[in-house]
Symmetry: C2
Subunit: 454 residues, 2 copies
């Protein structure tokens, strides 16, 4: 038993100094977002009403590396570098020759990878003289992260929380309030967008985005902050993959497959982009596997089209796999994965065949999460539970093939605020909620007019 | 801003190899526990029905150091060494010349220091051929820790959870069940002790202990496991203080005062005993400050007498500050601090004047916790909130005196399962529940007949 726990730690000096921008390495011509009025490529001027200059420059940067401001790295030290573990107990339980490693982002004060971007965004907005950030949150992970980041950089923070989560997850709300944020139940009466959607009382991420964007667009001292999907958010998360690469080198191994869950895509991007760049540049043969919920199967069932990022249609049109911007996913516990689209860069890589995707229902995901908790100790969030399921499948495939494959899993957050989901699973009450093909088709029929993606 | 976050990390190789046993260094003659039937010192034979030999030997060890089994150190690697931080943002907010450091134990999978002992206890019971451990839990921290440890060493685990916590903290219960433990609401109908206490439907830690001890005493394949108070539990926790000492050396400072919260005393003992030994051996002048709840003020208001560790009177008589073994503390949120007594070694040190104690009501404690969360990011548990209050008082005293004092705070766990308490605080609903002098006096009138402590 003397090597059952293997943890690879880095010193604070090894926190990355730059973020990895995959844009210049992407194959083919970049596919720009479009201004929905003109159908012309949306540029920085389309974004200035709600984002600070520095983040817009990151959004469109052609540089392969973007320096991390020293003040951001200082805050990262609160929880970074995050640990990488070898999951020896899980390997033993699966009787697999595979080597399973996991990179754990639940050590941040907010409990997930989200503060990696929240801190960077709060910093740049503070530098730009902004007084307040508005955002949306589903499960509450992103809202918590931004509440924390705003507090550390002395910004006000207003958070539109999806109604069903607001009702079911009061403790995530308490956490945001503990850090000083104002939390409003969405759809709310405080915005035109919210008032137009009061017939959807449980809300959705798309509606909450519309509300927060509206607030930011109307008030020059307020900006908007998004927790996923956009290039600059994916960029900020690449600290995860860079650290994991250094830690895998300490372990003396290279991953054959990198696995993560995908909601809007920032967690997956953060872990994989540094590895994907190596594939694109050096021809490495690493596989990349995205796990998504069967109730909201964007990458496996969506169409690759231009669509709005929000429900009401206030954002530029983004080139992505989408289930339709007004598709309201069923209320699965993995609230962080309930988004109709995905990060455009990620979608382009799926389209190119560089990333595989699989969808899982709730019960198989929680079965995997429970196994992980019992073998590795950490209780995973419902979102990474999907990635754990995919990891176990890969480990069993390695056993089947009799091959010592190396699997790297992104464990994006803990499940401390999701124990009611475990309760439901243990009591056999968890539903494998059906994805509605009909609802999706109806939503796809309402896609905005836009050019096909080249 | 370039040095706002300062974290001192150790490598896994620096996880302590031995636990620190303070017993041989204590001033004066040891004060033994007594067999309540004979009033003779209770020895190993009194403990064998419910504890394995190896833990009994630790309980009475005369050696200043006890080697940590390799298998236990392996599991410690899941979260140890835990980080030590300099709280620069809090210092700035308090405008104090004091240097505040905090040792954070919330990084364990169970969220507190408790697994340090749970893992050691599960290991020794497994080695002894035991099949099942029975224990009690108040707030759920200890129960979670033992559920995790039992799972890792393949033991069954049955947990009597104090009724009021069982009702108010369903998510701690879910966590224990996620790790495979059986959780029963105490008082239960499954034991004589429980049936005798059904008139106290909300239960108490003392009642739950009686139930678990009874189960262990009646079944040779089941042992009992206690999360605090006893010598061997304090012993296991000394990994905290040893690491903190190494980390303070990295920081190039010595603490002038070490601050922690006290329920049964194991957290406080774990942090302070290595430092206290230095005081006893080398005449260092470090101060030690124990923070307890005003609703259960054992050290500041209790009497120093022999008393039972449990409510029903099944344990040996322990020499300690007590509010009476059947005193039922008011239901404050800091469930981990609601115990009528304290670790005998700790009480002896308080009696000797080596440890100071202060009691705080809930609102001042949560005011301090909120300030900490907003400045340092981590949301503290209600128990360490009391220690944070004491730390802030010390930092303000240093400002008053114009002295650059060094304060070391034990941050024993996070508050992720206690957000309803923050909700109550933020909404102004938190009660500063009155300690009832009359109830305590009534309980003291029921103290067992026993010799006075020499």
């Amino acid at each position: 038993m003397s090597d059952e726990t293997v943890k690879y730690t880095l010193s604070e000096r090894e926190i990355p100094t730059h973020w990895v921008n995959l844009m210049p390495d992407l194959p083919g011509e970049p596919i720009p977002p479009l201004n929905p009025q003109t159908m012309e490529p949306a540029g920085p001027p389309d974004l200035t009403p709600i984002f600070p200059e520095a983040l817009i420059m990151q959004e469109v940067s052609p540089e392969p590396e973007v320096e991390i401001p020293e003040e951001v790295r200082e805050v990262y030290k609160l929880w970074r570098p995050s640990p990488l573990y070898r999951a020896r107990r899980l390997e033993k339980a699966l009787d697999t020759p595979a080597h399973i490693y996991y990179k754990y982002e639940g050590v941040s004060p907010a409990g997930s990878h989200k503060p990696n971007s929240a801190v960077a965004q709060a910093y740049e907005n503070k530098q730009a003289g902004i007084k307040r950030l508005a955002t949306e949150t589903g499960a509450g992970q992103w809202g918590s992260a931004l509440a924390l980041a705003c507090r550390l950089f002395d910004l006000e923070c207003v958070i539109y929380m999806v109604g069903s989560s607001y009702d079911q997850k009061p403790y995530r709300r308490s956490m945001m309030q503990t850090w000083g944020a104002t939390v409003l139940r969405s759809p709310s009466e405080t915005t035109d967008a919210g008032r137009s959607q009061l017939s959807h009382p449980t809300g959705s991420l798309g509606i909450a985005i519309s509300e927060a964007v509206e607030v930011a667009a109307k008030d020059p001292e307020t900006n908007y902050s998004l927790g996923s999907v956009l290039n600059h958010v994916c960029l900020h998360q690449t600290v995860i993959g860079q650290e994991a690469m250094a830690q895998m080198a300490l372990a003396g191994e290279e991953p054959d497959v990198v696995v993560g869950c995908v909601g809007g895509g920032s967690n997956f991007a953060g872990l994989t982009f540094p590895f994907i760049r190596r594939v694109l540049r050096d021809g490495a043969t690493t596989r990349f596997l995205a796990a998504e919920p069967a109730a909201c199967p964007t990458l496996t069932r969506g169409v690759y089209r231009y669509d709005f990022g929000d429900t009401v249609g206030m954002t530029p049109l983004l080139p992505m796999y989408t289930l339709g911007h007004d598709f309201v996913p069923p209320p699965v516990h993995a609230g962080g994965l309930r988004y109709h689209g995905d990060a455009p860069i990620l979608c382009a890589l799926v389209k190119e065949g560089l990333i595989e995707a699989r969808a899982y229902a709730q019960n198989p995901a929680f079965e995997a999460a429970l196994m992980f908790a019992r073998d590795e100790g950490i209780v995973p969030g419902p979102e990474p539970a999907h990635a754990i399921r995919a990891t176990i499948e890969e480990a069993l495939a390695a056993r089947e093939a009799g091959e010592e494959r190396v699997i790297l899993l992104g464990l994006s957050g803990h499940g401390h605020f999701d124990m009611s989901a475990y309760d439901d699973y243990l009591a056999g009450r968890l539903e494998d909620i059906e994805f509605s093909e009909a609802d999706m088709q109806a939503a796809l029929d309402r896609l905005p007019e836009a050019p096909a993606i080249a």
